[in-house]
């Protein structure tokens, strides 16, 4: 990747001040997103996905802070940007966001077109007419009649509202879109409709995207690279094929096993016992240790670092002291795991 990456995170730790002390929501997270790349960030509830998303657009909650590490956008460190810098230089025109639970993110008493005009006027010097024209174009891109830009949000169905938000996110031609659970509230068919438009945007080759979701299948279908998080730590990252075929972190391969696949209704689901811990202060242990069947004492004494997995040629980083042995033990314990003989759906 000779081209400059769009976004780089280097050992980023993000903490919240709480009554019980400093809660470490993200610890030493690192990943890189190239130009035009769709990057999936997966993990269970509370693992720090939204915290990363909010940090990237400078909207971390008031009690939150980036305690260490560097975030570079197009090479430029942005972790110390002020609110004003974010507004003037980044939001909407460089980095835009499709927030979690988008259903409530449009102002219910303002026409959608007016909301777009306002964004344009705050962040660019587009005229009203230019803004409207551009917004109409985008409505067509996301498959809503352009005349409907003057509707109020409540006149839209959930899926349309979500697409209107995607139109807003694309509005000022950003280089990076952060989508936090963009379809969690939608039905499968609507979800698929939304991803159809996200695919098209990718084909046009404009923006990169961080897709944040708890649904690993969306990432496997729609992204190039993936990072799997567990309780603030990045467990494993690489391109989706590598992670699918050859994941080495116990949480990563167990999560894959826990995920239902409707093509194999008879496959037994893997169970990951226990719950992620709440991490206070410095995290100098593997956060998966209490749930990991392969844990050893070492895992409690030090946080494993992300290291290149030798078996793969591409970038494939794993943060586990025992990735080799654990993987083998897991393979052995799985009863004939590879013979997914009960397949009902033939691959097309």
């Amino acid at each position: 990747m000779s081209e400059q990456p769009i976004l780089e995170l280097d050992d980023v730790t993000i903490q919240y001040r709480t009554a019980g002390g400093m809660l470490t929501a993200v610890s030493d997270a690192s990943f890189t997103i190239g130009k035009g790349e769709y990057f999936g960030l997966v993990g269970e509830s509370g693992c720090g996905k939204s915290t990363i998303a909010k940090t990237l657009i400078g909207a971390l909650d008031d009690n939150g802070q980036i305690s260490s590490g560097e975030i570079r956008y197009k090479g430029e460190p942005i972790q110390d940007y002020t609110e004003k810098q974010f507004n003037q230089e980044l939001r909407w025109k460089e980095i835009s966001m499709i927030p979690q639970g988008s259903m409530n993110n449009l102002d219910p008493i303002e026409k959608i077109s007016n909301q777009a005009i306002e964004i344009a006027q705050v962040h660019t010097d587009m005229t009203r007419a230019e803004a409207l024209e551009r917004f109409e174009e985008l409505f067509e891109v996301v498959g809503i009649q352009k005349s409907r830009i003057h509707d109020y949000p409540h006149q839209f169905s959930g899926g349309m509202e979500q697409r209107a938000i995607i139109a807003l996110a694309l509005f000022l031609n950003p280089s990076l879109i952060i989508a936090d659970e963009p379809t969690t509230a939608l039905d499968v068919i609507m979800q698929d409709q939304v991803f159809k438009y996200l695919d098209e945007i990718r084909e046009e080759g404009g923006a990169s995207m961080v897709l944040i979701t708890h649904d690993i299948s969306l990432v496997f279908e729609s992204c190039d690279d993936i990072a799997i998080m567990h309780s603030g730590q990045i467990a494993e990252t690489g391109d989706i094929e590598t992670i699918y075929d050859d994941s080495r972190h116990p949480y990563a391969f167990m999560l894959k096993g826990a995920f239902p696949d409707h093509r194999y209704p008879d496959r037994e689901l893997e169970i990951i016992d226990g719950y992620p811990p709440e991490n206070m202060g410095e995290v100098n242990y593997c956060t998966f240790v209490d749930r990991c069947p392969y844990a050893v004492d070492e895992c409690r004494e030090m946080a494993p670092e992300l290291e290149q997995w030798e078996g793969t040629e591409s970038d494939h980083l794993v943060a586990c002291f025992r990735s080799e042995d654990a993987y083998e033990e897991h393979q052995r314990s799985m009863p004939e795991s590879d013979s997914e003989s009960t397949e009902v759906h033939g691959d097309d």
């Binding site: 269970e44 509830s45 498959g143 169905s157 959930g158 899926g159 349309m160 039905d187 499968v188 068919i189 609507m190 979800q191 698929d192 409709q193 991803f195 159809k196 695919d199 708890h214 649904d215 690993i216 299948s217 969306l218 496997f220 279908e221 989706i240 094929e241 699918y244 167990m254 999560l255 894959k256 826990a258 995920f259 239902p260 696949d261 409707h262 093509r263 209704p265 689901l269 893997e270 169970i271 990951i272 016992d273 719950y275 009902v344 759906h345 691959d347 097309d348």
Partner: protein, 359 residues
């Protein structure tokens, strides 16, 4: 109860909502009802688990609440062990409520925040005048794998994780040792790791206790772990009924096909095509008589303005779609008298097959 009688039997069950305001009544305006559940016919046998799937707003929750006796059906009949529930006395309802229990979708709303686990489990026991409270509560907590029970029994919901709350909900449903469990998307709000353990727990309990279950969901990939048979619902009507694996492999109704084709597949090597369906489902008001899927259906034909009959497609799947029967030789009266047909084709598979064959 005879050997082969269904525990629960829905016959053309119908629930319409009419929001007629005083003003409408004074002005004599006719308000079109919301046809939330429209002539649904389903049989649930002992130790069987039947799934109902469909998009948001298709009437799943309304159906479930009608089954719980929270809504009075506006048409059709519901039989419990052969007895029509519309003729139930108070005592019979109380017996029904003891034997038919529910698990809700949202673990964050389904437990009273002011009740400890003990209070939650005790209530059904008190209402039905059972004894041995402590023993029953401990046993049921062990069954849902909240071990040791002492550690959980005095906790408030906010001291439990999502998965633990859902286990308490399941425990509340099991404590009266019911015959039927109604489950409204019991895992859709949970994380994958937790989801798997709750699904496994539910299917083990079904087996051990010989329970019957009505399982409602919009998520087909989890339904397949629980249900033997699936009913696909669209805007208040069941459009297809098939064995679970059959519907996943070979959906018949165009809507079922769209639904299954839209499920994301957790495999980057698998090239799934994105959905071809446009738009969203309408509200079930004033939809006319024809097929309810017709405004989005890729296979739509002229005849689809007439309500399609329920036909047996291949001995396994039953679908309500004009694609699956030959209209030339059909008795024209058949299209009009759907009510007879809908019940006829489902109450007895043999008869239905016979009919389809006749056509």
């Amino acid at each position: 109860m005879t050997e082969n009688e269904p525990v629960l039997k829905l016959e053309n069950l119908q629930k319409y909502f009419t929001d007629e305001s005083l003003k409408d009544r004074i002005l004599g305006r006719d308000v079109s009802p919301v046809r939330a559940v429209d002539e649904v016919t389903i049989d649930l046998y002992e130790n069987e688990s039947i799934g109902v799937i469909g998009e948001s707003g298709c009437g799943k929750t309304t159906l479930l609440r009608t089954l719980m006796g929270l809504y009075k059906p506006t048409g059709g009949e519901m039989y419990y062990n052969g007895e029509p529930t519309s003729e139930f006395s108070k005592a019979e309802w109380q017996k029904y409520r003891r034997n038919v229990q529910i698990i809700f979708q949202d673990p964050f709303n389904s437990l009273d925040p002011k009740f400890t686990v003990r209070d939650t489990l005790k209530e059904p026991l008190q209402v039905h005048g059972l004894d041995n409270h402590e023993e029953r509560m401990h046993r049921v907590l062990e069954e849902v794998q909240l071990n040791p029970p002492e550690q959980y029994i005095d906790r408030y919901p906010k001291q439990l994780s999502g998965g633990e709350k859902q286990r308490v909900s399941i425990a509340r449903a099991l404590i009266l040792e019911p015959e039927v469990i109604l489950a409204d998307e019991p895992v859709s709000m949970l994380d994958v790791s937790t989801q798997a353990s709750i699904l496994t727990l539910l299917s083990n309990l079904m087996e051990e206790k010989g329970l019957s279950m009505f399982y409602i969901s919009h998520d087909l990939s989890t339904v397949s772990y629980i249900c033997d048979e699936i009913n696909v619902m669209y805007l208040g009507r069941v459009v297809e009924r098939s064995p679970t694996k059959k519907v996943l492999r070979e959906p018949k109704h165009p809507y079922s096909q769209a639904l299954i084709d839209a499920i994301p597949v957790p495999d980057p090597h698998y090239n799934r095509e994105r959905t071809k369906i446009e738009g969203a489902a309408l509200d079930p008001v004033d939809l006319g008589e024809g097929c309810r899927f017709r405004d989005r259906c890729p296979e739509r034909m002229d005849i689809c303005d007439i309500k399609p009959r329920f036909v047996d497609v291949d001995g396994e799947s039953i679908a309500s779609c004009h694609l699956y029967y030959d209209h030339e030789s059909a008795d024209p009266a058949a299209d009009i008298d759907e009510r007879r047909l809908a019940s006829g084709s489902t109450t007895s598979g043999v008869e239905a097959t016979g009919k389809a064959g006749d056509n």
